[in-house]
Amino acid sequence: MIAVQDVHKWFGLLHVLKGIDLEIAQGEVLVLIGASGSGKSTLLRCINGLEKIQHGKIVVDEMDIHKSRTNLNKVRQEIGIVFQSFNLFPHMTVMKNITIGPTKVKRISPQESKEIAVQLLKRIGIPEKADFYPDQLSGGQQQRVAIARALAMKPKVMLFDEPTSALDPEMISEVLDLMRELASEKMTMVVVTHEMGFAREAANRIAFMADGQIAEIAPAEEFFKNPKDERTRRFIEKVLAV
């Protein structure tokens, strides 16, 4: 579904991605972990073209993301992304936030998109908040709306960029539950997170990034039981000790 081949990226003089190779199958859940600044968020943003790459190739669903002939707007309809800071549109109601994509981008009729949105709101458990504005919701609710907004486009792939890092601890589980549900429905997902519990349960494979490279990639079980890379071992010791 997603193929990343020898991807390099620079920010000015800073070499942030140093030759990433990655294959993600349809229906697979891949969790990216690593210290902050290791390049995992950047990699995620490259996958839907929010950041440009200077070398290599990223193919999603047989479309080459960084080829100039590719219609990025078209590709992005297939790739949903959920940000750390929600990034809901503050001047629109929850309903409008969810329907704006289907109506304006996919040109689905307003009634039909509204039905989709009502379904999604029911699913994320806050049907009564449809006419609220984002800043009237809790952080957990906002993030669930952001997930619904992405799902409303019926994407083939969902990317999550530290979706729970900006949340109060008591709200993390409501978001993670929703993500687990998605995973069990065989949605292809790439998740950057620090939630090791989620990684262990929901991930098919876990990739550990360090210094702009993938240091280790392994099925979840094996990754935690006997990590091969020295840096991975130290990282796991640190996060599991807390």
Binding site: L14, G37, G39, H55
Partner: protein, 282 residues
């Protein structure tokens, strides 16, 4: 792979060269387009650049007067502006309000109206005699013009200075007062040096505005730059377009360097304060 290692200092230098090139191309396209519009709409106009350029010495005389007006006006505006700012920050409410009335009155009037009111209004009641200084005669028009300019711009500078002084944290004043400093000592040694960096960029901006406003002095027949162009543009020399283009270039030559300086100061003074960021490995 090797091709990417070239993202080095020399790469950045090439990048800046590229930006300069880009701006030049954009300028060529923009002016080319404007010129084509002229050709398309006003085909019977012939340009007389060669004749117009012969009058440059005349422009230069005007430039000299404009510079004098700007410098004198700026000095006056700075002193009045400091006074207004101090009054606006005074502990007495009434004084603050009076200074506020001064600022709001002048800020909300066109400079032209202030100039007319000063020269034709006050000038009728208060007589100023022409005087000679360094071999040049200064007429009352010049004096009233500089006065009007200084007073008008002081209403803007007063607000700039006030914002600068207010940007210095209260705790700094308290710390200085706790050392036993007096009001003016606190200003002089603690507040003003820190306020300076906030004040400098808008101060350059006001100087720019002052140069631009000074063009209005031709209306009270001060022999400055704009008046020079006006005197040249008479029916027997019908190349008005050329004269006024030259005039615009003179102002651009004075103001654009100041404008760049203002931008540079802003980024420079901003950087030294805010972004001593620790470099993070991406």
């Amino acid at each position: 792979m090797i091709r990417f290692e070239k993202r080095s200092k020399s790469y950045l230098f090439a990048h800046y060269l590229w930006i300069v090139f880009r701006v030049l191309v954009a300028g060529a396209v923009l002016f080319g387009a404007i010129y084509l519009v002229f050709l398309g709409l006003g085909s019977n106009y012939t340009f007389h650049w060669e004749e117009a350029i012969q009058f440059l010495p005349f422009f230069n005389q005007g430039l000299l007067v404009t510079l004098q007006i700007a410098i004198l006006g700026a000095i006056l505006a700075v002193f009045l502006g400091i006074a207004v700012a101090l009054l606006r920050l005074s502990p007495w409410g009434v004084v603050r309000d009076l200074a506020g009335a001064y600022v709001h009155t002048f800020r909300n009037l066109p400079f032209l109206v202030v100039l007319l009111l000063f020269f034709f209004g006050l000038g009728k009641a208060i007589k100023i005699l022409p005087f000679e200084f360094l071999g040049q005669t200064y007429r009352p028009q010049f004096i009233w013009g500089v006065l009007a300019l200084g007073v008008y711009e002081s209403s803007y500078l007063g607000e700039t200075f006030r914002a600068g002084i207010e940007s210095v944290h209260k705790a700094q004043v308290e710390a200085a007062r706790s050392l036993g400093m007096k009001y003016f000592q606190v200003l002089r040694y603690v507040v003003l040096p820190q306020a300076f960096r906030v004040i400098l960029p808008p101060l350059t901006g006001t100087l720019i505005a002052l140069i631009k406003e000074s063009s209005l002095l031709y209306l009270i027949s001060v022999q400055e730059l704009t008046e020079a162009a006006r005197q040249l543009a008479i029916p027997s020399r019908p190349y008005f377009f050329e004269f006024y283009t030259i005039l615009a270039c003179y102002y651009l030559a004075m103001v654009v360097p100041l404008s760049l300086l203002s931008n540079w100061l802003e980024s420079r003074l901003g950087i030294s304060r805010a972004s001593k960021k620790v470099k993070d490995h991406g």
